[in-house]
Symmetry: C2
Subunit: 251 residues, 2 copies
DNA sequence: CGATCTATTGAGCTTTGTCAACTGCTGTGG
DNA sequence: CCACAGCAGTTGACAAAGCTCAATAGATCG
Protein backbone atom coordinates (compact mmCIF):
# COMPACT_ATOMS: atom_id res chain seq x y z
CA UNK A 1 0.00 0.00 0.00
CA UNK A 2 1.81 3.05 -1.20
CA UNK A 3 -0.40 5.81 0.20
CA UNK A 4 -0.54 6.79 3.84
CA UNK A 5 -4.15 5.71 4.23
CA UNK A 6 -4.68 2.82 6.62
CA UNK A 7 -7.25 0.26 5.58
CA UNK A 8 -8.74 -1.74 8.43
CA UNK A 9 -9.42 -4.58 6.00
CA UNK A 10 -5.77 -5.50 6.11
CA UNK A 11 -5.29 -4.50 9.71
CA UNK A 12 -3.23 -7.06 11.54
CA UNK A 13 -5.59 -7.10 14.51
CA UNK A 14 -8.36 -8.59 12.43
CA UNK A 15 -6.19 -11.21 10.84
CA UNK A 16 -4.77 -12.01 14.24
CA UNK A 17 -8.21 -13.00 15.47
CA UNK A 18 -8.00 -16.09 13.32
CA UNK A 19 -6.59 -18.31 15.98
CA UNK A 20 -9.65 -17.94 18.17
CA UNK A 21 -12.16 -17.54 15.44
CA UNK A 22 -13.31 -21.14 15.25
CA UNK A 23 -14.63 -20.85 18.77
CA UNK A 24 -15.71 -17.26 18.80
CA UNK A 25 -15.27 -15.74 15.34
CA UNK A 26 -15.96 -12.15 16.31
CA UNK A 27 -15.77 -10.92 12.75
CA UNK A 28 -18.04 -13.54 11.24
CA UNK A 29 -21.05 -12.08 9.49
CA UNK A 30 -23.46 -14.69 10.70
CA UNK A 31 -22.42 -14.56 14.32
CA UNK A 32 -22.77 -10.83 14.51
CA UNK A 33 -26.05 -10.69 12.71
CA UNK A 34 -27.50 -13.61 14.61
CA UNK A 35 -26.48 -12.17 17.95
CA UNK A 36 -28.01 -8.85 17.06
CA UNK A 37 -31.23 -10.62 16.19
CA UNK A 38 -31.50 -12.08 19.66
CA UNK A 39 -30.13 -15.54 19.05
CA UNK A 40 -28.73 -16.95 22.26
CA UNK A 41 -25.21 -18.17 22.90
CA UNK A 42 -26.02 -21.89 22.76
CA UNK A 43 -27.59 -21.45 19.34
CA UNK A 44 -24.46 -19.64 18.24
CA UNK A 45 -22.27 -22.51 19.30
CA UNK A 46 -24.46 -24.84 17.22
CA UNK A 47 -23.81 -22.53 14.34
CA UNK A 48 -20.07 -22.59 14.82
CA UNK A 49 -19.93 -26.34 14.64
CA UNK A 50 -20.82 -26.20 10.97
CA UNK A 51 -18.60 -23.26 10.07
CA UNK A 52 -15.53 -23.87 7.99
CA UNK A 53 -12.99 -21.12 7.90
CA UNK A 54 -11.47 -20.67 4.48
CA UNK A 55 -8.51 -18.61 3.45
CA UNK A 56 -6.55 -16.68 2.96
CA UNK A 57 -7.42 -16.66 -0.72
CA UNK A 58 -5.38 -14.42 -2.98
CA UNK A 59 -6.37 -12.12 -5.82
CA UNK A 60 -7.57 -14.28 -8.69
CA UNK A 61 -8.44 -17.34 -6.59
CA UNK A 62 -11.97 -18.56 -7.16
CA UNK A 63 -14.41 -19.27 -4.34
CA UNK A 64 -16.72 -21.14 -6.69
CA UNK A 65 -17.39 -21.32 -10.40
CA UNK A 66 -20.49 -21.23 -12.52
CA UNK A 67 -22.00 -24.69 -12.72
CA UNK A 68 -20.29 -26.05 -9.60
CA UNK A 69 -22.66 -28.12 -7.46
CA UNK A 70 -24.03 -26.02 -4.64
CA UNK A 71 -23.06 -27.05 -1.18
CA UNK A 72 -22.42 -24.01 0.92
CA UNK A 73 -22.95 -20.31 1.32
CA UNK A 74 -20.09 -18.16 2.50
CA UNK A 75 -19.72 -15.01 4.56
CA UNK A 76 -16.88 -12.69 3.59
CA UNK A 77 -14.75 -11.93 6.64
CA UNK A 78 -12.02 -9.90 4.97
CA UNK A 79 -11.23 -8.72 1.47
CA UNK A 80 -13.50 -8.33 -1.53
CA UNK A 81 -15.16 -11.02 -3.63
CA UNK A 82 -16.42 -10.29 -7.14
CA UNK A 83 -19.27 -12.35 -8.57
CA UNK A 84 -19.66 -12.51 -12.34
CA UNK A 85 -21.11 -14.53 -15.17
CA UNK A 86 -19.71 -15.15 -18.64
CA UNK A 87 -22.28 -14.79 -21.39
CA UNK A 88 -22.51 -17.01 -24.49
CA UNK A 89 -20.22 -14.62 -26.42
CA UNK A 90 -17.56 -14.92 -23.76
CA UNK A 91 -18.14 -11.46 -22.35
CA UNK A 92 -17.92 -11.04 -18.61
CA UNK A 93 -20.83 -9.60 -16.62
CA UNK A 94 -20.02 -8.40 -13.13
CA UNK A 95 -22.92 -9.08 -10.76
CA UNK A 96 -21.55 -7.58 -7.59
CA UNK A 97 -18.73 -6.88 -5.19
CA UNK A 98 -19.00 -8.46 -1.77
CA UNK A 99 -17.41 -6.83 1.24
CA UNK A 100 -16.69 -8.12 4.73
CA UNK A 101 -19.93 -9.05 6.45
CA UNK A 102 -21.75 -9.98 3.26
CA UNK A 103 -22.92 -13.42 2.22
CA UNK A 104 -22.43 -15.02 -1.18
CA UNK A 105 -23.96 -18.09 -2.77
CA UNK A 106 -27.61 -17.50 -1.85
CA UNK A 107 -28.56 -17.39 -5.52
CA UNK A 108 -27.31 -20.97 -5.95
CA UNK A 109 -30.04 -22.59 -3.84
CA UNK A 110 -32.59 -22.51 -6.62
CA UNK A 111 -31.06 -25.05 -8.95
CA UNK A 112 -28.43 -26.55 -6.72
CA UNK A 113 -25.60 -25.11 -8.80
CA UNK A 114 -23.78 -21.85 -8.54
CA UNK A 115 -25.17 -19.68 -11.35
CA UNK A 116 -22.08 -17.46 -11.37
CA UNK A 117 -18.39 -17.30 -10.58
CA UNK A 118 -16.94 -15.80 -7.42
CA UNK A 119 -13.34 -14.62 -7.38
CA UNK A 120 -11.18 -12.93 -4.76
CA UNK A 121 -10.00 -9.43 -5.71
CA UNK A 122 -7.49 -9.21 -2.89
CA UNK A 123 -6.66 -11.28 0.17
CA UNK A 124 -9.93 -12.85 1.25
CA UNK A 125 -11.01 -14.70 4.37
CA UNK A 126 -14.31 -16.58 4.36
CA UNK A 127 -16.62 -18.54 6.63
CA UNK A 128 -18.28 -21.39 4.74
CA UNK A 129 -21.58 -22.79 5.97
CA UNK A 130 -22.84 -26.11 4.62
CA UNK A 131 -26.26 -25.16 3.34
CA UNK A 132 -28.05 -28.45 4.01
CA UNK A 133 -26.80 -28.33 7.57
CA UNK A 134 -27.60 -24.69 8.17
CA UNK A 135 -31.09 -25.23 6.73
CA UNK A 136 -31.60 -28.18 9.05
CA UNK A 137 -30.41 -26.13 11.98
CA UNK A 138 -32.78 -23.37 10.91
CA UNK A 139 -35.75 -25.68 11.52
CA UNK A 140 -34.69 -25.78 15.18
CA UNK A 141 -33.67 -22.14 15.44
CA UNK A 142 -36.44 -19.85 14.20
CA UNK A 143 -34.15 -16.83 14.55
CA UNK A 144 -31.65 -18.41 12.21
CA UNK A 145 -34.39 -19.21 9.71
CA UNK A 146 -35.56 -15.66 9.98
CA UNK A 147 -32.05 -14.38 9.43
CA UNK A 148 -31.65 -16.47 6.29
CA UNK A 149 -34.99 -15.30 4.92
CA UNK A 150 -34.01 -11.71 5.56
CA UNK A 151 -30.61 -12.09 3.90
CA UNK A 152 -32.18 -13.55 0.79
CA UNK A 153 -34.96 -11.02 0.74
CA UNK A 154 -32.44 -8.22 0.83
CA UNK A 155 -30.49 -9.64 -2.08
CA UNK A 156 -33.64 -9.57 -4.21
CA UNK A 157 -33.90 -5.84 -3.63
CA UNK A 158 -30.20 -5.11 -4.06
CA UNK A 159 -30.18 -6.82 -7.44
CA UNK A 160 -32.87 -4.49 -8.74
CA UNK A 161 -31.19 -1.29 -7.51
CA UNK A 162 -28.83 -0.91 -10.43
CA UNK A 163 -31.38 -2.29 -12.88
CA UNK A 164 -32.97 1.12 -13.37
CA UNK A 165 -32.02 3.36 -16.27
CA UNK A 166 -29.80 5.97 -14.74
CA UNK A 167 -27.16 8.28 -16.10
CA UNK A 168 -23.47 7.53 -15.83
CA UNK A 169 -23.15 10.13 -13.07
CA UNK A 170 -26.00 8.71 -11.03
CA UNK A 171 -24.68 5.18 -11.30
CA UNK A 172 -21.16 6.16 -10.29
CA UNK A 173 -22.36 8.28 -7.37
CA UNK A 174 -24.59 5.43 -6.21
CA UNK A 175 -21.70 3.00 -6.52
CA UNK A 176 -19.42 5.15 -4.36
CA UNK A 177 -22.10 5.95 -1.78
CA UNK A 178 -23.09 2.30 -1.67
CA UNK A 179 -19.52 1.22 -0.98
CA UNK A 180 -19.13 3.95 1.61
CA UNK A 181 -22.23 2.91 3.52
CA UNK A 182 -21.47 -0.77 3.42
CA UNK A 183 -17.93 -0.15 4.67
CA UNK A 184 -19.19 2.17 7.40
CA UNK A 185 -21.59 -0.54 8.54
CA UNK A 186 -18.62 -2.78 9.21
CA UNK A 187 -16.62 -0.16 11.03
CA UNK A 188 -14.48 1.11 8.18
CA UNK A 189 -14.17 4.76 7.29
CA UNK A 190 -17.02 5.97 5.07
CA UNK A 191 -14.93 8.82 3.69
CA UNK A 192 -11.68 7.13 2.76
CA UNK A 193 -11.42 3.72 1.27
CA UNK A 194 -9.77 1.73 -1.44
CA UNK A 195 -11.32 0.51 -4.65
CA UNK A 196 -10.24 -3.09 -4.62
CA UNK A 197 -11.58 -3.61 -8.15
CA UNK A 198 -10.21 -2.33 -11.45
CA UNK A 199 -11.87 0.44 -13.46
CA UNK A 200 -12.83 -2.22 -15.97
CA UNK A 201 -14.69 -4.17 -13.29
CA UNK A 202 -16.47 -1.04 -12.07
CA UNK A 203 -17.43 -0.18 -15.64
CA UNK A 204 -18.70 -3.66 -16.27
CA UNK A 205 -20.72 -3.64 -13.05
CA UNK A 206 -22.24 -0.26 -13.91
CA UNK A 207 -22.86 -1.36 -17.53
CA UNK A 208 -20.64 1.31 -18.97
CA UNK A 209 -17.45 1.60 -20.96
CA UNK A 210 -14.27 1.89 -18.88
CA UNK A 211 -13.65 5.21 -20.60
CA UNK A 212 -16.92 6.55 -19.25
CA UNK A 213 -16.01 5.50 -15.72
CA UNK A 214 -12.68 7.23 -16.04
CA UNK A 215 -14.25 10.44 -17.36
CA UNK A 216 -16.96 10.57 -14.70
CA UNK A 217 -14.49 9.99 -11.89
CA UNK A 218 -12.19 12.71 -13.15
CA UNK A 219 -15.10 15.10 -13.50
CA UNK A 220 -16.31 14.32 -9.97
CA UNK A 221 -12.80 15.17 -8.86
CA UNK A 222 -12.73 18.46 -10.76
CA UNK A 223 -16.08 19.34 -9.19
CA UNK A 224 -14.70 18.73 -5.71
CA UNK A 225 -16.92 15.74 -4.93
CA UNK A 226 -14.11 13.26 -4.41
CA UNK A 227 -10.37 12.92 -4.51
CA UNK A 228 -9.01 9.89 -6.29
CA UNK A 229 -5.41 8.72 -6.36
CA UNK A 230 -5.12 5.46 -8.18
CA UNK A 231 -7.50 3.23 -6.27
CA UNK A 232 -7.65 5.31 -3.12
CA UNK A 233 -10.88 7.27 -2.80
CA UNK A 234 -11.68 10.13 -0.50
CA UNK A 235 -15.21 11.47 -0.49
CA UNK A 236 -15.03 15.24 -0.08
CA UNK A 237 -18.68 16.22 -0.42
CA UNK A 238 -20.82 13.37 0.85
CA UNK A 239 -24.04 15.37 0.76
CA UNK A 240 -23.73 16.35 -2.87
CA UNK A 241 -22.67 12.85 -3.91
CA UNK A 242 -25.65 11.41 -2.05
CA UNK A 243 -27.91 13.85 -3.83
CA UNK A 244 -26.71 12.60 -7.20
CA UNK A 245 -27.11 8.98 -6.08
CA UNK A 246 -30.58 9.55 -4.69
CA UNK A 247 -32.57 8.46 -7.74
CA UNK A 248 -30.68 5.17 -7.78
CA UNK A 249 -30.50 4.40 -4.06
CA UNK A 250 -33.82 5.99 -3.10
CA UNK A 251 -32.52 7.10 0.31
CA UNK B 1 -61.51 -9.59 -25.87
CA UNK B 2 -61.94 -8.53 -29.43
CA UNK B 3 -59.73 -11.02 -31.26
CA UNK B 4 -60.59 -14.66 -31.79
CA UNK B 5 -57.70 -15.90 -29.65
CA UNK B 6 -58.79 -17.67 -26.49
CA UNK B 7 -56.72 -16.96 -23.42
CA UNK B 8 -56.87 -19.62 -20.72
CA UNK B 9 -56.22 -16.96 -18.13
CA UNK B 10 -59.77 -15.75 -18.46
CA UNK B 11 -61.19 -19.17 -19.21
CA UNK B 12 -64.37 -19.75 -17.26
CA UNK B 13 -63.25 -23.18 -16.12
CA UNK B 14 -60.46 -21.71 -14.04
CA UNK B 15 -62.59 -19.02 -12.54
CA UNK B 16 -65.26 -21.60 -11.77
CA UNK B 17 -62.81 -23.49 -9.57
CA UNK B 18 -63.12 -20.77 -7.02
CA UNK B 19 -65.88 -22.37 -5.05
CA UNK B 20 -63.83 -25.42 -4.20
CA UNK B 21 -60.49 -23.72 -4.03
CA UNK B 22 -60.39 -23.12 -0.31
CA UNK B 23 -60.35 -26.83 0.27
CA UNK B 24 -58.34 -27.99 -2.70
CA UNK B 25 -57.06 -25.01 -4.63
CA UNK B 26 -55.75 -26.91 -7.63
CA UNK B 27 -54.38 -23.81 -9.27
CA UNK B 28 -52.55 -22.47 -6.26
CA UNK B 29 -48.85 -21.94 -6.86
CA UNK B 30 -47.76 -23.21 -3.51
CA UNK B 31 -49.83 -26.33 -3.55
CA UNK B 32 -48.59 -27.40 -6.93
CA UNK B 33 -44.98 -26.61 -6.24
CA UNK B 34 -45.06 -28.21 -2.82
CA UNK B 35 -46.69 -31.36 -4.13
CA UNK B 36 -44.13 -31.63 -6.87
CA UNK B 37 -41.39 -31.35 -4.27
CA UNK B 38 -42.68 -34.35 -2.41
CA UNK B 39 -44.64 -32.71 0.34
CA UNK B 40 -47.33 -35.04 1.57
CA UNK B 41 -51.06 -34.41 1.69
CA UNK B 42 -51.29 -33.75 5.42
CA UNK B 43 -48.63 -31.07 5.13
CA UNK B 44 -50.63 -29.56 2.31
CA UNK B 45 -53.73 -29.35 4.41
CA UNK B 46 -51.72 -27.53 7.08
CA UNK B 47 -50.74 -25.11 4.38
CA UNK B 48 -54.29 -24.54 3.29
CA UNK B 49 -55.39 -23.56 6.74
CA UNK B 50 -53.37 -20.40 6.50
CA UNK B 51 -54.27 -19.54 2.93
CA UNK B 52 -56.54 -16.60 2.29
CA UNK B 53 -58.07 -16.39 -1.14
CA UNK B 54 -58.21 -12.86 -2.44
CA UNK B 55 -60.02 -11.53 -5.44
CA UNK B 56 -61.13 -10.91 -7.95
CA UNK B 57 -59.11 -7.71 -8.10
CA UNK B 58 -59.60 -5.50 -11.14
CA UNK B 59 -57.17 -3.58 -13.29
CA UNK B 60 -55.72 -0.78 -11.21
CA UNK B 61 -56.47 -2.34 -7.80
CA UNK B 62 -53.41 -2.52 -5.58
CA UNK B 63 -52.33 -5.69 -3.81
CA UNK B 64 -49.97 -3.73 -1.57
CA UNK B 65 -48.22 -0.40 -1.62
CA UNK B 66 -44.69 0.74 -0.95
CA UNK B 67 -44.19 1.21 2.78
CA UNK B 68 -47.13 -0.96 3.86
CA UNK B 69 -46.24 -3.18 6.81
CA UNK B 70 -45.34 -6.64 5.59
CA UNK B 71 -47.61 -9.41 6.64
CA UNK B 72 -48.05 -11.83 3.81
CA UNK B 73 -46.70 -13.11 0.55
CA UNK B 74 -49.09 -13.89 -2.26
CA UNK B 75 -49.24 -16.37 -5.09
CA UNK B 76 -50.87 -15.18 -8.30
CA UNK B 77 -53.59 -17.61 -9.35
CA UNK B 78 -54.96 -15.72 -12.35
CA UNK B 79 -54.21 -12.47 -14.09
CA UNK B 80 -51.07 -10.34 -14.07
CA UNK B 81 -49.62 -8.28 -11.25
CA UNK B 82 -47.15 -5.48 -11.91
CA UNK B 83 -44.66 -4.49 -9.22
CA UNK B 84 -43.13 -1.02 -9.38
CA UNK B 85 -41.47 1.68 -7.35
CA UNK B 86 -41.79 5.44 -7.62
CA UNK B 87 -38.46 7.25 -7.46
CA UNK B 88 -37.88 10.58 -5.66
CA UNK B 89 -38.65 12.49 -8.87
CA UNK B 90 -42.02 10.79 -9.14
CA UNK B 91 -40.99 8.57 -12.04
CA UNK B 92 -42.28 5.03 -12.05
CA UNK B 93 -39.91 2.07 -12.24
CA UNK B 94 -41.44 -1.24 -13.22
CA UNK B 95 -39.75 -4.11 -11.38
CA UNK B 96 -41.61 -7.02 -12.86
CA UNK B 97 -44.76 -8.66 -14.16
CA UNK B 98 -46.04 -11.62 -12.19
CA UNK B 99 -48.02 -14.34 -13.91
CA UNK B 100 -50.15 -17.14 -12.53
CA UNK B 101 -48.04 -19.45 -10.41
CA UNK B 102 -45.61 -16.76 -9.32
CA UNK B 103 -45.14 -15.39 -5.82
CA UNK B 104 -44.91 -11.72 -4.87
CA UNK B 105 -43.85 -10.01 -1.68
CA UNK B 106 -40.67 -11.98 -0.97
CA UNK B 107 -38.60 -8.82 -1.17
CA UNK B 108 -40.57 -7.34 1.75
CA UNK B 109 -39.21 -9.72 4.39
CA UNK B 110 -35.99 -7.83 4.82
CA UNK B 111 -37.30 -4.70 6.44
CA UNK B 112 -40.81 -5.77 7.27
CA UNK B 113 -42.32 -3.36 4.77
CA UNK B 114 -43.18 -3.77 1.13
CA UNK B 115 -40.42 -1.96 -0.76
CA UNK B 116 -42.59 -1.58 -3.84
CA UNK B 117 -46.16 -1.33 -5.10
CA UNK B 118 -48.09 -4.22 -6.62
CA UNK B 119 -51.04 -3.53 -8.87
CA UNK B 120 -53.40 -5.73 -10.87
CA UNK B 121 -53.18 -5.24 -14.64
CA UNK B 122 -56.33 -7.25 -15.33
CA UNK B 123 -58.64 -9.46 -13.30
CA UNK B 124 -56.44 -11.04 -10.66
CA UNK B 125 -56.99 -13.88 -8.21
CA UNK B 126 -54.51 -14.38 -5.39
CA UNK B 127 -53.68 -16.74 -2.54
CA UNK B 128 -52.34 -14.82 0.44
CA UNK B 129 -50.12 -16.58 2.97
CA UNK B 130 -49.42 -14.98 6.33
CA UNK B 131 -45.65 -14.92 6.40
CA UNK B 132 -45.15 -15.37 10.14
CA UNK B 133 -47.42 -18.37 10.01
CA UNK B 134 -45.88 -19.92 6.92
CA UNK B 135 -42.40 -19.39 8.39
CA UNK B 136 -43.49 -21.11 11.58
CA UNK B 137 -44.97 -23.96 9.60
CA UNK B 138 -41.71 -24.17 7.65
CA UNK B 139 -39.85 -25.07 10.84
CA UNK B 140 -42.02 -28.20 11.01
CA UNK B 141 -42.03 -28.94 7.29
CA UNK B 142 -38.51 -28.98 5.88
CA UNK B 143 -39.86 -29.30 2.35
CA UNK B 144 -41.81 -26.10 2.76
CA UNK B 145 -38.73 -24.33 4.12
CA UNK B 146 -36.79 -25.65 1.19
CA UNK B 147 -39.45 -24.43 -1.21
CA UNK B 148 -39.37 -20.94 0.28
CA UNK B 149 -35.58 -20.81 0.09
CA UNK B 150 -35.69 -21.86 -3.52
CA UNK B 151 -38.34 -19.30 -4.44
CA UNK B 152 -36.30 -16.53 -2.92
CA UNK B 153 -33.07 -17.76 -4.40
CA UNK B 154 -34.62 -17.73 -7.84
CA UNK B 155 -35.83 -14.17 -7.46
CA UNK B 156 -32.28 -13.04 -6.75
CA UNK B 157 -31.22 -14.43 -10.10
CA UNK B 158 -34.22 -13.16 -12.04
CA UNK B 159 -33.61 -9.64 -10.82
CA UNK B 160 -30.14 -9.64 -12.31
CA UNK B 161 -31.18 -11.01 -15.71
CA UNK B 162 -32.27 -7.69 -17.17
CA UNK B 163 -29.53 -5.82 -15.32
CA UNK B 164 -27.02 -6.50 -18.10
CA UNK B 165 -26.34 -3.98 -20.83
CA UNK B 166 -28.17 -5.36 -23.82
CA UNK B 167 -29.53 -3.85 -27.01
CA UNK B 168 -33.16 -2.95 -27.42
CA UNK B 169 -33.64 -6.00 -29.66
CA UNK B 170 -32.09 -8.39 -27.18
CA UNK B 171 -34.15 -7.06 -24.30
CA UNK B 172 -37.39 -7.24 -26.23
CA UNK B 173 -36.70 -10.76 -27.50
CA UNK B 174 -35.80 -11.85 -23.97
CA UNK B 175 -38.97 -10.28 -22.65
CA UNK B 176 -41.16 -12.13 -25.14
CA UNK B 177 -39.35 -15.46 -24.74
CA UNK B 178 -39.47 -15.07 -20.99
CA UNK B 179 -43.21 -14.51 -21.03
CA UNK B 180 -43.68 -17.41 -23.43
CA UNK B 181 -41.76 -19.84 -21.24
CA UNK B 182 -43.41 -18.77 -18.03
CA UNK B 183 -46.84 -19.10 -19.58
CA UNK B 184 -45.98 -22.50 -21.04
CA UNK B 185 -44.89 -23.65 -17.61
CA UNK B 186 -48.42 -22.99 -16.38
CA UNK B 187 -50.10 -24.71 -19.27
CA UNK B 188 -50.79 -21.73 -21.50
CA UNK B 189 -49.79 -21.54 -25.12
CA UNK B 190 -46.17 -20.51 -25.58
CA UNK B 191 -46.85 -19.23 -29.10
CA UNK B 192 -49.94 -17.12 -28.65
CA UNK B 193 -50.61 -14.93 -25.68
CA UNK B 194 -51.76 -11.52 -24.65
CA UNK B 195 -49.63 -8.67 -23.41
CA UNK B 196 -51.61 -7.64 -20.37
CA UNK B 197 -49.39 -4.61 -19.85
CA UNK B 198 -49.21 -1.40 -21.87
CA UNK B 199 -46.33 -0.53 -24.17
CA UNK B 200 -45.37 2.11 -21.65
CA UNK B 201 -45.09 -0.52 -18.92
CA UNK B 202 -43.02 -2.78 -21.15
CA UNK B 203 -40.76 0.13 -22.06
CA UNK B 204 -40.35 1.10 -18.45
CA UNK B 205 -39.55 -2.48 -17.47
CA UNK B 206 -36.97 -2.79 -20.26
CA UNK B 207 -35.56 0.67 -19.41
CA UNK B 208 -36.39 2.09 -22.80
CA UNK B 209 -38.57 4.77 -24.32
CA UNK B 210 -42.05 3.60 -25.35
CA UNK B 211 -41.18 4.70 -28.88
CA UNK B 212 -38.27 2.27 -28.96
CA UNK B 213 -40.51 -0.59 -27.84
CA UNK B 214 -42.97 0.25 -30.56
CA UNK B 215 -40.28 0.42 -33.25
CA UNK B 216 -38.62 -2.83 -32.22
CA UNK B 217 -41.92 -4.70 -32.12
CA UNK B 218 -42.87 -3.45 -35.56
CA UNK B 219 -39.48 -4.40 -36.94
CA UNK B 220 -39.73 -7.87 -35.40
CA UNK B 221 -43.05 -8.14 -37.18
CA UNK B 222 -41.61 -7.01 -40.52
CA UNK B 223 -38.83 -9.58 -40.12
CA UNK B 224 -41.37 -12.35 -39.57
CA UNK B 225 -40.42 -13.10 -35.98
CA UNK B 226 -43.78 -12.30 -34.46
CA UNK B 227 -47.24 -11.12 -35.35
CA UNK B 228 -48.70 -8.46 -33.13
CA UNK B 229 -52.25 -7.18 -33.20
CA UNK B 230 -52.75 -4.72 -30.41
CA UNK B 231 -51.83 -6.67 -27.33
CA UNK B 232 -52.18 -10.11 -28.88
CA UNK B 233 -48.85 -11.70 -29.68
CA UNK B 234 -48.10 -14.67 -31.85
CA UNK B 235 -44.53 -15.92 -31.98
CA UNK B 236 -43.82 -17.04 -35.54
CA UNK B 237 -40.14 -17.91 -35.35
CA UNK B 238 -39.38 -19.08 -31.84
CA UNK B 239 -35.88 -20.29 -32.71
CA UNK B 240 -34.74 -17.00 -34.15
CA UNK B 241 -36.30 -15.02 -31.32
CA UNK B 242 -34.57 -17.27 -28.79
CA UNK B 243 -31.29 -16.74 -30.58
CA UNK B 244 -31.64 -12.99 -30.17
CA UNK B 245 -32.61 -13.40 -26.52
CA UNK B 246 -29.75 -15.76 -25.78
CA UNK B 247 -27.25 -13.21 -24.48
CA UNK B 248 -29.83 -11.97 -21.98
CA UNK B 249 -31.38 -15.26 -20.88
CA UNK B 250 -28.23 -17.37 -21.18
CA UNK B 251 -30.23 -20.45 -22.27
C1' DC C 1 -69.73 9.99 -32.49
C1' DG C 2 -66.62 12.79 -30.29
C1' DA C 3 -63.17 12.68 -26.25
C1' DT C 4 -59.37 10.56 -24.59
C1' DC C 5 -55.93 7.45 -24.10
C1' DT C 6 -52.59 4.29 -26.34
C1' DA C 7 -49.69 3.25 -29.99
C1' DT C 8 -47.03 4.44 -34.10
C1' DT C 9 -43.97 7.05 -36.96
C1' DG C 10 -40.61 10.70 -38.23
C1' DA C 11 -36.72 14.14 -37.35
C1' DG C 12 -33.13 15.79 -34.75
C1' DC C 13 -30.23 15.50 -30.78
C1' DT C 14 -27.79 13.74 -26.59
C1' DT C 15 -25.44 10.46 -24.13
C1' DT C 16 -22.54 7.02 -24.18
C1' DG C 17 -19.79 3.59 -26.63
C1' DT C 18 -15.86 2.74 -29.87
C1' DC C 19 -11.41 3.39 -31.60
C1' DA C 20 -6.98 5.14 -31.13
C1' DA C 21 -3.23 7.36 -29.00
C1' DC C 22 -0.84 8.36 -25.00
C1' DT C 23 0.53 8.39 -19.95
C1' DG C 24 2.18 6.42 -16.05
C1' DC C 25 2.45 2.72 -12.86
C1' DT C 26 4.69 -1.93 -11.70
C1' DG C 27 7.57 -5.47 -11.99
C1' DT C 28 11.47 -7.94 -14.22
C1' DG C 29 15.86 -8.82 -15.99
C1' DG C 30 20.15 -7.14 -17.51
C1' DC D 1 19.70 0.73 -10.50
C1' DC D 2 17.93 1.47 -14.83
C1' DA D 3 15.54 0.11 -19.14
C1' DC D 4 11.95 -1.95 -20.93
C1' DA D 5 7.71 -4.58 -21.29
C1' DG D 6 3.16 -4.84 -20.18
C1' DC D 7 -0.95 -3.45 -18.28
C1' DA D 8 -4.27 -0.12 -16.23
C1' DG D 9 -5.98 4.18 -16.69
C1' DT D 10 -6.77 8.58 -19.11
C1' DT D 11 -7.97 11.56 -22.86
C1' DG D 12 -9.66 13.01 -27.47
C1' DA D 13 -12.32 12.49 -31.83
C1' DC D 14 -15.95 10.31 -33.87
C1' DA D 15 -20.04 7.19 -34.43
C1' DA D 16 -24.21 5.12 -33.16
C1' DA D 17 -27.98 3.59 -30.31
C1' DG D 18 -31.68 5.18 -28.35
C1' DC D 19 -34.20 9.40 -26.30
C1' DT D 20 -37.07 13.56 -26.88
C1' DC D 21 -40.26 16.16 -29.14
C1' DA D 22 -43.92 16.50 -32.28
C1' DA D 23 -47.44 14.94 -35.25
C1' DT D 24 -50.59 11.29 -36.56
C1' DA D 25 -53.35 7.12 -36.33
C1' DG D 26 -56.10 3.88 -34.00
C1' DA D 27 -58.78 2.02 -30.13
C1' DT D 28 -61.92 2.40 -26.29
C1' DC D 29 -65.66 4.17 -23.86
C1' DG D 30 -68.98 6.99 -22.56
Amino acid sequence: MSSGIVFPRTDASILADDGDSLTFCSTCAFSQACLSEGMDKSALSDLHVLVEHVGPLHAGDHVFREGDPFGAIAAVRAGTVKTYMVDPDGREQVLGFHLPGEVIGLNAIHDDRYPCNAVALDTVMLCRFSFPRIALLATRLPNLQRHLFRLMSRDIGVASLFAGDHSADERMAAFLIGLSRRLAQRGFSPKRFQLTMSRTDIANYLRQAPETVSRVLRRFEREGLVSIKQRDVEILDMARLEAIALTVLRH
